[in-house]
Amino acid sequence: MFKKVNFMEIKKLSKYVYEMQKEGKMTLSPKIYANEEMISVLRGEEKNKNNSLKQLENLTTLPGLLGVVCLSDLHIGYGAPIGTTTASDLKEGVITFAATGFDINCGVHSLVVPLSAKEVEEKKGQLAEQLFKDIPAGVGIGGKLKLNVSEMDELLMGGAEYAVAKGYGSKKDLQMIEEKGKIKGVDTASVSTKAKERATDQVGTLGSGNHYCEVQKIEKVFDEKAAKAFGLNEGGTFVSIHCGSRALGHQIGTDYLPILDAAVKKYNISIPERDLVCAPISSEEGQKYFSAIKAGSNAAFANRQVIGVLVKRVFEKVFEINEKEIKTFYDIGHNTAKIEKHFVDGKKREVLVQRKGSTRGFGPGNLEVPLKYRKFGQPVIVGGSMGTNSFILKGTTKAMSETFGSTIHGAGRSMSRTEALRGASGEEILKQLAEKGILIKARSVKGLSEEAPGAYKDILSVVEVMHQSGISEKVAKLKPLVCVKG
């Protein structure tokens, strides 16, 4: 018996922009930024019961949606696909768990180090050892900061500002963080004591899975003017720190799953799958969940700020350099929910924007972009998979009008973890990358196998689609030198 596959109709709008046609209970036609090969991969997945396009179809049945956009790193998630941005009407819309996920405000914090990549390569081994020693990473590994529940409340309200007050970095750093590292309007009562207890020793820790701290060479500059304004020189050194709100964010998600499940029944919302649990934005449940997301986001900003400073101190230990000479480049989250102003049907209005595996990529002149970069657009840090290139892009005006100012966050997975485990072993991967001059230090060698470079889409094509479609433009390409993982 063959199962009937219901193929979604996808219309090609231009070379890199497609539109999935509205069918059944869908309320709109979502846009997909992709190349032909990516679309054919999505099509191939449709034979599976659970696939990206099915998740996209389900997501677009939710009430009050004003737009759904998928970027070129699109792949299957839980409930909503990764690489998706939704914009919802504040009165009619819902706040959906799956469109932000468990790893609230997971993102990338980055540094520009005033050392040449050549200088760094000469002490690569020592640097890797010191990073591995000083940056807490891996399952169950706590950090130096131990907070009690009332200190946790200060952290949830203060975000990166709290980290700075505790001696991690300076106020200047805050200017270089999305929302200046602190989202206002947090009601700490919206976060359970359980969530606070679960993360008391996790501020300043990387975690595990695909989270990492990577030292990179600025291999190529594509846009000289923007790179100059961004402080990026070819042959220079860059650091990317990828992690999120850790167990605090995970517990917030865990706590709100049953609350949103009950809200679906209470407000009589029709959802095609249970993993799309949600609540009206304007409802008590919706507002509390939104506050908890803001709190989780602040915890993530603080977490990355602390790690950023720990990394600066490692450079101070290994090289003749003062931590203050290392500049915070930018910090941006990719699992978020925010009220933003966007043009909808020609009118600028406030909407709820949820991004899952998608970052802001605001265009030139936007007041949310740090003054230093404002003329050129917001820096977008696109994290590659282990051993592959990462990219710095800049946001564009086109993104503001087409994608609610959103863009890609990384490569996106192309292979399941179980498939990846059947491939090269962790030891083999370490060896292969070492031959390419990339030094990996990881606590879990099995985990390395799951994160093998081949388990992800080709970052070059993912970036190219965004560049060619004019949503985000290439500024620089980074090559990994040292990568520390949990």
């Binding site: 167990a247 865990t254 973890r417």
Partner: protein, 149 residues
């Protein structure tokens, strides 16, 4: 009757099978713990009791798995053996309405995390409602969902 991990492109599916739903819950829990640690090295020497409730067996399974993750992070305890008893109770809500809830009374057997002994793998962030099933299918009981890693 066993446990397994099932395919999911970004995350991982955990599944337990048993002659009873309770046994399937226990196998599913072990399947999830095996994602983040080698369970053969966890000595089930200390028992810890938990009580949970939910609107239905699916929600209860997700709460059960998430409770194990909470205990790992907050109490630094990990488990390799589980005894689960499922039941039903009637509760009165704030508005005075009587509603039926499903309950889980469990005993978890394990120990405190010891980094010299326990070999950790990829952390599990949470159990999700994705591909969630807790019930009977083809004459066996299955408890499964996707966990976020």
């Amino acid at each position: 009757m066993g446990r397994e991990h099932f395919e999911h492109k970004a995350d991982i599916g955990v599944r337990g099978r048993g002659h009873t739903l309770e046994a399937a819950f226990e196998e599913c829990a072990l399947s999830m713990v095996e994602v983040f640690v080698d369970t053969s090295r966890i000595n089930p020497k200390k028992a810890h009791k938990i009580e949970l409730e939910g609107t239905d067996n699916g929600a209860l399974l997700v709460s059960f798995l998430n409770e194990l993750l909470f205990l790992k992070d907050s109490k630094k305890r990990i488990y390799s053996k589980f005894r689960v008893k499922l039941g039903k109770e009637h509760k009165v809500d704030e508005k005075g309405n009587v509603k039926e809830v499903v309950t889980l009374k469990g005993t978890l057997f394990g120990e405190k995390i010891n980094f010299n002994k326990h070999v950790f793998r990829t952390d599990v962030k949470a159990a999700t409602y994705s591909e969630l099933f807790a019930g009977e299918k083809n004459k066996e009981f299955i408890a499964q969902c996707v966990v976020d890693v």
